[in-house]
Amino acid sequence: MAEKPGMRVALLAVTLACGLVDGAAAQGAAQAQSREAIFAQMLRDPGNVTLALRYAKLSNDEGDLEAAIGALERILFYNPSEPNARLYLGLLYAKLGSNDMARGYFESVLQHPATPEPIRARAEALLAKANERLSPHQWNNYIRTGVRYQSNGNDEPDGEYQVFDPINGLTTVEGNPTDDWNAYVQTGTFYSYDFGNQRGDRFEASLTTYNTRNARFDDFNYNMAEVTAGIRFGLPMENGMASVKPYVIGTAALLDDQEYFHGGGGGLVFDIPVGKIVVSPFAEAVWREYENNDEINIIGGSQFEDRNGVTTTAGFRLATSTYAAYRFNARLAYETRDADQDYEGFERFLAEIQFPFDVNIKGHQLLITPLFGVRYTNYDAPDPTVQDVDGIDDVTREDLEFRVGLAADYAINDWAGVGAQVLYRTTDSNLNAYETDNWTISFGPNFRF
């Protein structure tokens, strides 16, 4: 397989990311040393508020929120009327999930008659948030929308490939990857009901949708909706709280405004804290039934219905806890599809990882997320309608896909922001028809409420 220019960019991005991680680790070690030195000074000079504030910030940055709380409670001893110290304590307790303590601190700011108005307004907003979190009903919603440019909007290879059909026989087709723009809207609604027991058992449901409208290739206009529902049971462990959630899932999609597939299934997911990481083993089985669409050409001539079957996925996710100083999210999975036609069945290994980190710009947060992924797919049987460049028709398709990208999300306020993403995807295949490259650039607003 010839080297693609995009691969060099991908390798450079990986190298840069490794450098970033190395740099962050070195900075973390220096920060930890600095915090220890400040703590030693504090023991000798405990009334020094400058030291206490600096220690609180470093502790917060390192994820040691209890140490930050201890320092702030000391500052409050010296000035019990200081409203920002109370707000900060409330926020620290909120980050630990101790929302009743957070509410108490926010209320105390409002109860003091001399709290300045800007701080009072801040405390009112935080108190409202704390009361929301204390409610057994939790709703979280998001909308992401914008425009997306793709260098290969029709997902075609850059080169020749061979197809075979009974009427025309063996035909050489010239691939014509063509760019395209689309507008997209992605939505999510998450609901949970807390049963109020000590284990933290709760009912969880979600509805996610994804919709696109393309400027040029309206065959790829896509609408998808997915519903999940299940009960999460808490599992007390020595080092924290684990959980297990059995759930059911329903899904449906349109392609070019006609039914594409519908289906359903179920799964099981665990969340297990291991130090500062949450490990989430999961398994899921989803059946999908596809509908043919004579107006859409698929490479080769197979039909959508050939894909009918059950897709089974098993693997695990890894994620650092929400407020960890250095974060990553990763997913490793093994997937199989048992399709009506063997050449649409496959087994697949995939791995993806993200390294989100925050940059504070004049009080606003910019979230930067480098992301990497790889997916290897080995199909179960040759597709007789798609052949390799030598016209051999018994080659079983194997694809190796790499993905590298960078996302940036800027929070304008608590409920709105703007985001952009650059993504490069390259697929190497033993069949020319599936060797593709695609650059994707998207940007637009996002909302949370």
Partner: protein, 275 residues
Amino acid sequence: MPIFNSRTAARISALLAGTALFTLNVQAQSVGTAAAVNPTTEGVRPGQAIRVLRLGSDIISNERINTSPQGSTQILFVDKTTLNIGPGSSVVIDQYVFNPKTDTGQAAITLGKGIMRFVGGEISHSGGATLKTPVATVGIRGGMGTIEHTADGTIYLHHYGSATISNSCGSVTINRPGFSTSVGGPNQCPTDPEKSTKPAIDRALALLTSGPGQSGGGTFTGQGPQTIDTPTVDLPPDLQKDLDDLVREAQQDVVTGDQHYDDPPPSCTFSCTGN
């Protein structure tokens, strides 16, 4: 030659004196400092006279700390644990051992009466922290909790981490912030954990800090005692800005944290065409 002569006696005396000195040094080793003190707060060391604690006073193992009905204090331990002690309380540091090289150790603190909040440092992260009252024992792991003991028994409010509350009757474990248990007597079992009440939380917040007119021994306020009716005394401007920045960052962290919690699933990360 006698077995026990003057030279031998001198050697034995020196050995005994050295041992006594060594023991004294171990017992007198500081385990922390009084990082904030409102009068009257007193420390009582074994075999020694009562002393009034001030900001910066050393605290040693086996020391008893008593607060008057207006007194309160925060003890900052060498393993980064902080212990806020409220008014009318009596607390003993029964045991404190910490190895800074391994960040492990053991701490046992008894609350005879009153109220205190334990914010765990390295010792509690390794499961070595124990809080006791006359009717119950609380083992805390990596966490924070408030404990109050009165004539009606002990109440424990859990804020973070994991805590096991036990006595001769039975035990309960609390893993979830915002839950509490109470123990009426040494032979009464701890109650099943239930959500902490708002009055209990508000009471803990009010008692475990300075009261009106108090400043914990700190002097940066610079304008004399405060009362509930006096205007807020600002921090010096540079510290005010530092704290304001910290609040903004933390507020944004909480918003971003909510976003991380419900980040959309990686739908369409690899393909949106169902393949």
